[in-house]
């Protein structure tokens, strides 16, 4: 009887429950909740369908430290991987849990890699740049014509795995290039300009700034993630525009909330420059730095010219005028100042060779611990010297043809090399065991895996070298074939 009663009560309860949940199948089965679910994945997005029974509340543990109490949740994972999803169903008193392992992955085309190396190379005729992606830095001899061929590539900055360059089809403006999960280089947005683009600088995921040579008084501010122009810095109040209304921005450095733009007189006569400071937050002109007449900047310095303390080291290229040459060098805007340090004027070429005739200095970049590297012309070409000696140094006695030959030799002979500059002490040393380049060769300094690396191009070499300053040792990493090595970009490092 007791048993019958107990049965009766249970039946009644089931009946009641089943009435409430409209579940006829439950009739005569266990009333404990049974958790169950199915799911569909779409890349990182998973749509769950709850198939539990006898439960009225649920807790989902998605396995990525997030949970949900929805019945049929839709969850998007932050990254691909295998996750253990636990669904717990409760009927108020009893609960039941089920576990499934879910693997989600992005379509490789939608993945953006943030490590690896993009190595650029250009064809001899200049028509083509090849962009090659390598997950690991290659060694030996590498054919660099295997990647993506583009009509134009002017490297300007890297940030969060993306490369910012002038547009690859030769149009005016800038492009953001990413590396997808297949290792392919893809376009992730453009910033069109009316005039030609000369530089773009990215500060962080939300803020970057670029120039449009058609509109030098305004520097557009953009969002590097969405590649949308969000504002601008109005520099029209800068005094330089009164003197040279068409002055254009040759290059720029970002320090904190401020942009230091190097303005060049237009038309370009190579002997005037001005640095103008603008604010990224207020979008306004701040001040024009006291100029240092006779110093010329080149657009060839790297984005990383700010040291750990916030000092800006601005290189200038020098003037290759045989009658009145100006040696290239480095100026400093101290961390706590918005003006040049009048006492800082480092001329690396002349430190090593005071008699240097054509003292060009380019490709400068800051490394770390007060060290910077750049390409300096260190010697005079012997043939050029002989020519000069033949007239006792009096250039006016040379014929036009001889002067041209002199310049040709000065520009092309392999008399330049990368130097290590201790910016604190002013000491300069040639990077050891590195083949020399012409002063205007397409050699480059870059930082790869935390160490200084040098792309060296001369008549017989096109290779990448690694230099370890701690042990003062240089080794060849790889040499290029098929096309002339351009840049080696470690996309894991920002603002190279």
């Amino acid at each position: 009887m007791k048993t019958i009663n107990r049965f009766f009560a249970l039946s009644l309860l089931i009946l009641l429950c089943s009435c409430g949940s409209d579940d006829d199948d439950a009739l005569g089965t266990d009333r404990d909740p049974v958790a169950g679910f199915t799911f569909e994945t779409d890349e990182l997005r998973v749509t769950f369908e709850n198939t539990s029974s006898n439960a009225n509340s649920y807790v989902w543990d998605f396995g990525d430290d997030t949970t949900s109490e929805e019945v049929d949740p839709v969850h998007t994972y932050q990254q691909g991987g295998t996750y253990t999803v636990i669904l717990t169903g409760t009927n108020g008193t009893e609960s039941n849990a089920t576990t499934q392992s879910i693997t989600v992955s992005l379509d490789p085309e939608n993945v953006r890699l943030t490590s690896g190396f993009v190595i650029t190379a250009s064809s001899e005729d200049g028509s083509t740049t090849f962009l090659n992606y390598f997950a690991e830095l290659p060694t030996g001899t590498v054919d660099l014509t295997q990647g993506l061929a583009v009509q134009n590539f002017g490297y300007l900055d890297t940030f969060d795995g993306a490369i910012f360059s002038t547009r690859t089809d030769g149009s005016n403006g800038y492009v953001k290039l990413g590396i997808n999960g297949n290792g392919d280089i893809v376009e992730d947005g453009i910033l069109p300009t009316t005039g030609s683009g000369r530089w773009i600088r990215v500060r962080d995921a939300e803020t970057g700034v670029f120039s449009d040579s058609n509109n030098p008084k305004n520097l557009p501010v953009f969002n590097p993630t969405t590649m949308e122009v969000t504002g601008n810095i109005d520099l029209s109040a800068a005094p330089v525009f009164t003197e040279f209304p068409m002055a254009f921005v040759q290059t720029a450095v970002i320090r904190g909330d401020y942009v230091y733009a190097v303005m060049e007189e237009f038309p370009q006569f190579l002997d005037n420059f001005t640095v103008v400071r603008g604010s990224l937050t207020s979008g306004t002109f701040q001040n024009q730095l006291d100029s240092n007449s006779g110093v010329t900047f080149t657009g060839n310095f790297l984005p990383n010219v700010v040291d750990e303390e916030g000092n800006i080291f601005m290189p200038h290229g020098g003037v290759i005028n045989l009658l009145a040459p100006i040696p290239g060098g480095i100026l400093k805007i101290p961390a706590n100042s918005t003006e040049f340090d009048p006492n800082f004027d480092l001329r690396p070429n002349n430190v090593l060779n005071p008699d240097q005739l054509v003292s060009t200095f380019s490709r400068f970049g800051y490394y770390q611990d007060g060290l910077g590297y750049g390409l300096a012309a260190l010697e005079n070409d012997p043939q050029a010297l002989a020519l000069l000696e033949s007239v006792d140094g009096d250039i006016s006695q040379l014929t036009e043809e001889q002067i041209n030959l002199l310049l040709f030799l000065a520009n092309t002979s392999e008399v330049a090399n990368f130097v290590e500059i201790d910016l604190n002490t002013g000491s300069v040393a040639e990077v050891p065991n590195l083949p020399r380049s012409g002063p205007f060769a397409s050699s480059n300094f870059t930082i790869v895996a935390g160490l200084p690396h040098f792309v060296v191009n001369n008549l017989s070499t096109s290779a990448l070298y690694r230099y370890d300053p701690t042990v003062n040792e240089t080794v060849e990493v790889f040499s290029a074939t098929g096309a002339t090595l351009g840049r080696v970009l470690d996309i894991g490092n920002d603002n190279l």
Binding site: S123, T145, A149, D169, G195, P220, E401, F440
Partner: protein
């Protein structure tokens, strides 16, 4: 008509032939009388005749007073015959009017008659290029492609003689009447039954030229002149040639020949490089009606044409004046295109003639382009809450709006033939003018040019002279003098978008739409060229040709917008510094025939010397040197060609040339703005080898098939290219660097499978490889195909004509053309395909029809271009027009 009949009667009388169709008017000259003279002078005999007949006989007594005594009797002879016999010379014309007879004495040497006719075989097929001569004289001519011949000879009795291989020699007595046409139709009988089946075909002059030992393609323009097609369109249908344009009618053209282009391929007008005729004649605006043919020289260029071409050249040969004619045409079509041409000639007498040649072109060129990047401004509220504008770029379909082309040309020629001291001499004077709006540079950009324009006008004079000295020396001279005024305007602050609107958001800061800096240049160029050719026939087998070409060009201008050079105080506009360019090419060629004339060879050498002069300033050093400097140099090139013919239908041809191209003034001296001089530049060098086979088979009833297969190999060294260094501090300069190796196959198949159907197939496959190896460690680009050149293209042409529609004599012709160009890349290809670099496969179909009414001299034709409205591209992916039409009316008199 009655007049002509009278002439016919005279011919019959004088020639002594019966006249089966004599329906001429009976005159007193035909009256038959009987008379006898005894030792009478001409004057006495004519007086006696006058008395007996009662007719007045008028004659020039001085001509009749000769020591001629006549003793003869005439029985029932016509008065005309009696007078003629009495006169005793063939230099009179008789005219009868009522009862008076005029004896007109003619100057025989100046009053030649014309002999015309047609030569056919007994199957009534015309026999082209068969020689017709008057026996024991030097008068004669070959028949043309239709078997027709025409030539002049002094009035006399002759025996006309026609002989051709496989036919019996034809001989017949004829009389030539002064200032009149004697028509004789000749049917040649085959020698025997066996040969009767073999139709011996003559060759057109184009075919003869094509068969010269030096490889040349000749496009005869006659068949295109009724069609509304342009010179670039025609050339694009031949093997090995691509003409690329920057837009519609009148836009600049670039010729690619065997994959090479730019300065390596020279363009000539009547043997004179077009660069010296600048401003007037261009491939793009030259109407077809004034052209006789176009010669395409690939690799080896004969010395009579060649200057310092590296890869060959294209020579436009204008019509030669040998008869009076007028040819007027008017063409209109899509995009408001109008082309009117007039050319013609008038023979003033047997020797003097005037010729004229003119055209007028106009087009809006406002064709539609698809998938064009278009930049516009949009406003937004920026982070600081201010209104700001930013650029957005979208892909749109747009119409060109600033691309008007207008040009005109007029050339008058006065010439004379058969003078004592000149076989031919002519002087021509002309004026040309053109105006072009420029919508884009070489490539389509997101912003168009809305104001840039270019004008040029030229005045030119040409003197041509030809003289045969003795029998074996021929002299030719062609001198040219041209003054050109050029204007280039690229200076505006207006910023345009592709919808033709001026953007108010911003200005064009650089002030120049296409160039880097504003330009308002006015140029005054002067050029003169002189070519002297001597041909010496040493024997039947050897001919020696000596050719000297001299050209001089002086370039000066001014540009108020140009950057001043701080040479002096005040500063100097570099455009005002004159540059000059002189070059001389002396060449000799020996042509020989061997092995019973089945083998022909040509050997030649060319000696180049040049002298370029300019005043220079140096931007690199900032040290300005202002001195006239002169750059001179010399070089030597050579080559040879061989042709081996099995018979008229089959031959093998081999040509080789070691060619030189002297650097141009611009390459040596730069452009005063962005390119600095390079005095170390060497001439470009090229080795060219061509081997070709030709075979033709004739079937019955004028159907035939011919096949020409050519293979070429070119090895070019020291090619000059612009070197733009990475450093913005270092200006660009031209350098000797590129080395290119190219080889290719060209197949031309022509046939007439039916009497009225013509089929043409032209196929080109070429492999143009960069062979430059800078050094052992740097093999950059080496072995890779040179970008931006199609590797494979072909053309199929078809024509069908109904020659005598409804027995009206009117002709209806249909023509169709299909061109295929394989996909090719603008730049070197990487492993990963980048669609942005490719010019996709292009298939173009053009079709049209023409209707000719020969009696009225009228032709109407209609052509539809790009029938399928396919997306077609030109230079650097510049879109070409979609479906469009042209309608042409031509009137010939």
């Amino acid at each position: 008509m009655p007049l002509k009949c009278t002439w016919l009667v005279f011919i019959l009388f004088w020639g002594g032939f019966g006249c089966p169709y004599s329906y001429g008017q009976e005159t007193i000259l035909d009256q038959e009388i009987t008379i006898a003279f005894s030792k009478a002078t001409v004057r006495e005999a004519l007086t006696q005749l006058s008395r007996q007949t009662g007719y007045v006989i008028n004659f020039s007594s001085s001509k009749a007073d000769r020591n001629r005594r006549i003793s003869s009797s005439f029985r029932n002879s016509s008065i005309a015959k009696i007078i003629k016999d009495v006169w005793g010379r063939n230099n009179i014309l008789l005219e009868a009017d009522g009862t008076a007879i005029d004896i007109l004495v003619i100057k025989t040497e100046n009053r030649k008659g014309t002999i015309t006719g047609t030569i056919t075989n007994n199957l009534n097929q015309p026999l082209p290029f068969v020689s017709v001569i008057l026996k024991n004289t030097t008068y004669g001519a070959p028949s043309n492609e239709n078997g027709n011949f025409s030539f002049q000879a002094p009035p006399e009795n002759y025996v006309i003689m026609v002989s051709s291989i496989g036919y019996e020699t034809f001989q017949k007595a004829i009389t030539v009447i002064p200032e009149s046409e004697t028509e004789i139709n000749i049917v040649l009988k085959a020698k025997d039954e066996k040969l009767q089946e073999v139709v011996v075909k003559g060759k057109s002059k184009e075919q003869i030229k094509r068969e010269e030992p030096i490889k040349v393609d000749v496009v005869n323009l006659a068949k295109f002149q009724t069609q509304p097609v342009s010179v670039p369109q025609i050339l694009n249908r031949t093997t090995g040639v691509r003409i690329r344009q920057f837009g519609g009618l009148g836009s600049p053209t670039q010729v690619q020949l065997n994959g090479l282009s730019g300065a390596a391929v020279r363009q000539y007008y009547n043997g004179i490089p077009m660069e010296f005729l600048n401003g007037g004649i261009n491939l793009d605006n030259l109407p077809t009606n004034a052209i006789d043919n176009i010669e395409i020289y690939k690799g080896v260029v004969p010395i009579e044409i060649g200057t310092d071409a590296l890869a060959g050249g294209i020579n436009i040969v204008p019509k030669e004046i040998d008869r009076s004619y007028t040819d007027i045409s008017y063409e209109f079509g899509s995009f408001n295109t109008h082309i009117a041409t007039v050319n013609g000639a008038q023979m003033l007498n047997d020797n003097w003639y005037v010729g004229f040649n003119g055209f007028f072109n106009y087009s809006d060129n406002d064709y539609r382009m698809r998938n064009i990047p278009v930049a516009t401004f949009e406003t937004f509220i920026n982070a600081q809450g201010n209104e700001q504008s930013r650029i957005v770029e979208t892909v749109e379909t747009v119409d060109r709006f600033h691309d008007v082309h207008q040009s005109s040309f007029l050339d008058m020629q006065l010439g004379v033939k058969n003078l004592k001291w000149a076989d031919k001499i002519s002087i021509s004077m002309g004026f040309s003018q053109r105006f072009d709006e420029l919508q884009t540079g070489q490539r389509i950009r997101a912003r168009p040019a809305g104001e840039t324009e270019q004008r040029a006008s030229a005045f030119f004079q040409t003197l041509k002279y030809e003289k045969k000295l003795k029998k074996n020396i021929q002299l030719k001279y062609n001198g040219n003098y041209t003054l050109i005024n050029e204007k280039f305007r690229d200076s505006t602050l207006n910023l345009y978008n592709w919808f033709g609107e001026i953007e108010t958001e911003n200005i064009l800061l650089s002030g120049a739409e296409i160039l880097n800096e504003p330009t308002l240049r006015d140029g005054e160029n002067f050029s003169t060229t002189h070519r002297l050719t001597g041909k010496f026939k040493l024997s039947d087998r050897f001919e020696f040709v000596l050719n000297n070409f001299f050209a001089y060009q002086r370039i000066v201008g001014e540009d108020p917008a140009a950057q001043r050079v701080p040479l002096d105080n005040p500063t100097v506009d570099p455009n005002t510094i004159p540059s000059s360019l002189g070059r001389n090419i002396l060449a000799a060629q020996l042509n020989s025939k061997w092995l019973d004339n089945t083998m022909e060879t040509s050997l030649f050498g060319k000696f180049y010397s040049f002298s370029n002069k300019t005043s220079d300033f140096n931007q690199t050093s900032n040290s300005i040197v202002f001195d006239a400097i002169r750059e001179t140099g010399e070089d030597f090139g050579f080559g040879g060609a061989l042709k081996l013919a099995w018979d008229a239908q089959r031959y093998l041809r081999i040509g080789y040339e070691n060619a030189i191209r002297v650097p141009s003034a611009r390459e040596v001296f730069g452009d005063f703005i962005q390119i600095v001089p390079n005095f170390l530049l060497r001439p470009e060098q090229s080795e060219n080898l061509n081997i070709g086979l030709f075979y033709r088979h004739d079937f019955s009833d004028r159907t035939f098939a011919s096949l020409q297969v050519d293979w070429f190999l070119r090895d070019l060294k020291d090619l000059i290219r612009l070197d733009v260094p990475q450093s913005p501090n270092l200006p660009a300069r031209f350098i000797n660097q590129a080395e290119v190796e190219s080889q290719g196959v060209e197949i031309a198949l022509k046939m007439a499978p039916l009497k009225r159907l013509d089929l043409d197939f032209a196929f080109t496959f070429q492999d143009i490889i960069n062979s430059e190896v800078p050094n052992e460690n740097n093999t950059n680009d080496s072995g890779k195909p040179i970008p931006n050149i199609p590797q494979l293209f072909y053309n199929v042409g078809l024509g069908y004509r109904l020659d005598n529609l409804f027995n009206s004599g009117n002709a209806l012709a249909f023509f169709g053309n299909y061109t295929h160009i394989d996909e090719f890349s603008l730049i070197f290809e990487g492993e990963v395909r980048n669609d942005a670099n490719f010019i996709p496969v292009q298939d173009q179909i053009d079709a049209g029809l023409s209707y000719r009414l020969p009696k009225l001299g009228l032709t109407f034709s209609l052509q539809l271009n790009n029938l399928t409205d396919a997306e077609l591209f030109d230079n650097f992916r510049l879109p070409k027009p979609g479906r469009n039409y042209r309608f042409k009316i031509r009137y010939e008199l």
